[in-house]
Structures are given as C-alpha cells and as structure tokens.
C-alpha cells in the first residue's frame, strides 16, 4: 500500500510542471494584458474577482487590504503557503480557505504579486522573481 503522503507529493510535483507549462502555453497570440493581470485571471480572479473585491461570505476582498499594501515578502509567503492554517478557525466571516500557490514559478508569482500590489494596493512596490525565490527559500521543504 502506497503511503498517501507520497501520493500527494507526486501529484503536487506533477502539477508544478503542468501549471507552469500551461500558463505559458495558454498565452494567446493577441494577448494584450500585462502578464500579471493575465495570471491573476488564471489563478486568482474566480475567487477574488476582477476588481479584487472578493465575494461576501465566500472569499475576502484583497483590494486596499493590508496584504497588498504591506510588506511584499510577507505577501509572497502567504500566497505560497495559503490559508490552511486558518481552516480550523470556525469564526471567520468567509467560507473558503485559500489554497497554497507554491506550485507557481517564481517569475509568475512575481508578476501576480506585482499586479495586485499595484492594482489593488494603491501602487505598492513591485516584486521581482529573485525576491520571490528568496522568500521561497525560507519556507520549509515541500510538504
């Protein structure tokens, strides 16, 4: 019997490659949106919505919030680790818990984080792939 943890890791590793490949492969020739906006559309928009306002009782707003206006490295760490630590909190006013997006490439995460900080964070500072990579190195090994 294969340990279930092994199975999960395999799936996640598989997705790492698949997601990065798909994100790049799916760029239409006529795409005019900045990469960050396009990647936000792929990974974030369905929950947080195009205007970053979220959905009441379901997913929180990010526009104007402290995550996008505050420390960029902290934001990168939160997006990579997700909100699973808050799953045990039963008093939250939103239903859904954010999954981790650690599977995304440094460059793609940098584009998304820069986009949401500039679009929804009042022009907060951009983030580079190197800065994401540095934050990633501080995380424990993949679960």
């Amino acid at each position: 019997m294969m340990p279930s943890g092994w199975r999960i890791r395999t799936v996640l590793w598989g997705v790492n490659l698949t997601t990065a490949a798909l994100a790049n492969a799916q760029v239409p020739a006529h795409e005019s949106r900045p990469p960050g906006q396009r990647l936000y559309g792929v990974h974030c928009l369905s929950c947080h919505q195009a205007d970053g306002g979220g959905v009441p009782n379901m997913q929180p707003a990010i526009a104007g919030g402290t995550w996008v206006t505050g420390d960029a490295r902290a934001l990168a760490l939160f997006v990579m680790t997700g909100g699973f630590d808050s799953a045990s909190r039963k008093d939250s006013d939103v239903g859904n818990v954010m999954p981790p997006f650690r599977q995304l490439a440094d460059a793609d995460l940098a584009e998304i984080l820069t986009y949401i900080r500039q679009k929804f964070g009042g022009g907060a500072s951009p983030m580079t792939a190197a800065e994401v990579a540095e934050a990633r190195r501080s995380l424990p090994a993949s679960p």
Binding site: I8, V11, T18, A50, D51, G95, P99
Partner: protein, 417 residues
C-alpha cells in the same frame, strides 16, 4: 426501476431545460424594474432589514423574514402589499424560516429552533425552543435549511464543508478522499422528529447522502415527497487545468434538481452531472478524465440539470389560487446567482418556473422573474443590485421573493395593478 424512470424524465427535460426559455415582458412601472410574464406585477413589500434570506408567509398574510442580521415580522395593514409595520424579533441569525401548525421554525448554522405562533400573533413573543442543536460549526455551506413534512418530520440540509472532498480543499491537483469521510456527518439530509425538543445530530438519521449543499429543499405535500435543488461543485479549471478550461468550469457542472428519497445517494463528491455531455461523469478528483462515467445506475440523473453556478437557494411548489392554471403544482426556484463563473460573465440572479406534473418535470423551465442583478459592475456578485434568495406564497396566492443584498421583499401577483 426508479432510476430508469428518472433518467427518462431527465433526458426528456434536459436539453430544452439547458437552453432555458426567455419568457414574458420587460420590466415596467408595475414590476419594480423586474422582468415578469405578461399579466404579472410586483410590489416592494419592504427593504432595509439587511441581508435577507428565506421567508415564510402566514395564513393572515404576515411575512416572516430570516436574515444574517436576525428575524423580522412584516405586516401590511391596508392591503396595498407594502409592509406598514416591520418588527425585528428573536435572537436567531440564519437562513431558514418555515411555519408548521402553530409554530415558526427557524435555523442558524448550528441548530433548528421554533417560536410559538399563536393565531393572529405578529412578532412571536413566546420563548424560543430548541429542536436540534450542536451541528458542528463550519465555514462552508453551513446554512441549515430544512423542510417539514405534513406530519412534522424535519429534513435538515447539512451541507458539506468542502468543494469536492479533496485531501486539500480547493487545492490544484489534490485528489479526493476515498471514501469521503465528510459524508459521515455532512453532505446530505438528516431527518428528525420536528416536534421533539432538545435533540442533537445524534438523534437524527441520515435520510440521503451525496448532496454537496441542498440549500433549496422543500416538501411537496401533493406528492408526499421531498425535493431539493443542489449546489454543484466549483473550480474545475483551477483545480484540474489539464482537463478543464475556464469556459468548461462556467458551464459544465449542473445544479441538480432531484426528488430526495430515503437512502438516496446523489453522487457528490465522486461525480457531477455534466451539462455539456448531458450525462453524469466521474469528478476529476476521483479518476475522472472529463468524460469517464461512473458505474451505470449507481447515482440517479437529475430531474432537471440547471446551468452551472446559478446557486439554487430556495424551492417552492405552487399551490396558490392567484396564478394561471399552468403554474399549479409547478416549482419556483430562486437562483441566487454565480460567483465562480468569473472570468466568464456571471449568471443566475433570477427566479425560474419549472412546469411539473405528478411530481415530474413537464417541459422546459421558464425564467419567471429577472432583472434583479442590474448592471453588476466589474462582473462582481458584490455589485449585484439584488440577489433572489427566498420564496413564499401568500394567502391570496401571490409569490413573495426575498433578496440577500438589501433585504428587499417583493410580492408578485397576477392580474393586479
């Protein structure tokens, strides 16, 4: 035998149902801007009690509105349809409210309660009693909507605190737990004796399973049967991008209308009914490849498969005397409207009429009331003007509709100005 029968009905009703039928006139001055069929008009009963949820109408026309902010009693004293007296009462903040005999049954996320409702009494003043309490407090799909049959059996929707029972909820690529342990306590309907007090979930019995979240649940007295319209799953594309794209996610996973039978299993989380293929398929978390089907006959096809993400939040079988004959015994469904269709345009936000005969669909559904959402800036549900969420029938046969954005309540009547 029953499954085969259901499948036949579904195949008959499905294709026209998926297309939908636009019906009726544009909004006019007698409809508060709503689009209604010819001959119908709408009056705003009231607005301003916050986030409305379900409602119930007493034999004397008093309206009881549940809400996230609490309960309200509404009374029209001069017969113009508008509430002249609005009285908040009680201490229950939740979704469901139903009248059974001389009781007003209500619920929140963790329990079902009742207030004595003496004949002619407006806002109940008696002590609240607990019928069932101690449902686990959850964040997702936690509204304990319910139905009561004519004998007082209480059927409680216990929604699954999960999208698709993945090992990691809503995480890309995470596989499903098999068997899904959530189904032991959630994801189905539990039945209780609704006339007994101080029960816990342990006093109930799992009546049906495989139901992700059946917010719209109702007893059909004429058929002596339970029905529900179930919220289908989310996020096919973001969880399994190699199998589904955003357009697939926007359209394929049906909101399923079922007759709920004792011991029934309606397929969540292992399957969903795919509106594009017109058949039930295995969920990608459970070996699905966007076309592979589950074992034949294991789960019933829906009576009707409604479009993905429309969010059916209330169900009502019409037995009033005001509407034309074709509405008799048919079902009204309040669709709260989507959030998970983005980036595709949001959809739903309307009240649908489902013609029925002898408890079976009898033709394609019709959009009965539309125009609730308005412009909906940025394609965001937050910016919907109104979102229909609850349904009730008044003693004169008018249909009442409640809204979750501002707590507006409409009375929709036929043949009145």
């Amino acid at each position: 035998m029953r499954t085969a029968c259901l499948a036949r009905v579904a195949s008959m009703a499905l294709m026209p149902a998926l297309a939908g039928v636009a019906f009726g006139a544009q909004g006019n001055e007698n409809s508060d801007g709503l689009t209604l069929p010819d001959g119908f008009s709408a009056v705003v009963v009231q607005e301003g009690q916050g986030t409305g949820r379900h409602l119930a109408v007493a034999a004397n026309g008093d309206v009881y509105l549940a809400g996230r902010n609490g309960l309200s009693a509404l009374r029209d004293t001069n017969g113009d349809g508008k509430a002249d007296v609005v009285t908040p009462f009680g201490d229950v903040k939740g979704t469901e409210v139903r009248i059974f005999k001389n009781w007003l049954y209500v619920s929140d996320d963790v329990g079902v309660y009742r207030y004595p409702l003496k004949k002619g009494e407006f806002a109940p003043v008696g002590t609240r009693e607990t019928v069932v309490s101690e449902f686990p407090k959850e964040r997702q799909h936690s509204d304990k909507t319910f139905a009561l049959d004519t004998k007082g059996a209480l059927y409680v929707n216990v929604g699954a605190p999960s999208n698709s029972c993945q090992q990691k909820d809503r995480q890309e690529g995470s596989l499903g737990q098999n068997p899904c342990p959530i189904l032991e306590k959630y994801g189905g309907v539990w039945v209780f004796d609704g006339t007994k007090l101080n029960q816990t979930p342990a006093n109930g019995r799992r009546f049906a399973t495989g139901m992700r979240n059946a917010v719209a649940i109702e007893w059909n007295a004429a058929q002596n049967a339970l029905f529900a319209v179930i919220h289908g799953r989310d996020s096919l594309d973001t969880l399994f991008p190699a199998l589904y794209n955003a357009e697939d996610n926007a359209i394929r996973q049906a909101e399923e209308f079922h007759q709920i039978v004792d011991g029934g299993d309606y397929g969540w989380p292992y399957t969903f009914f795919d509106t594009k293929l017109g058949k039930r398929v295995l969920a990608p978390e459970y070996g699905g490849d966007a076309k592979k089907e589950p074992e034949a006959g294991k789960y019933p096809d829906p009576l009707v498969a409604y479009p993905a993400h429309w969010a059916p939040n209330d169900l009502l079988f019409y037995s009033g005397k005001n509407f034309p004959a074709k509405y008799q015994d048919g079902a009204f469904i309040a669709f709260h409207g989507s959030w998970n269709r983005a980036p595709e345009p949001q959809a739903g936000y309307k009240v649908v009429f489902q013609p029925m005969k002898d408890g079976k669909p009898n033709g394609a559904y019709e959009v009965f009331a539309d125009g609730f959402a308005g412009e909906m800036k940025d394609n965001s549900p937050r910016n919907a003007q109104y979102r229909p969420v609850g349904l009730g029938v008044g003693p004169d046969g008018s249909l009442y509709v409640s809204d979750s954005q501002k707590g507006r309540v409409w009375r929709i009547s036929y043949g009145k100005k």
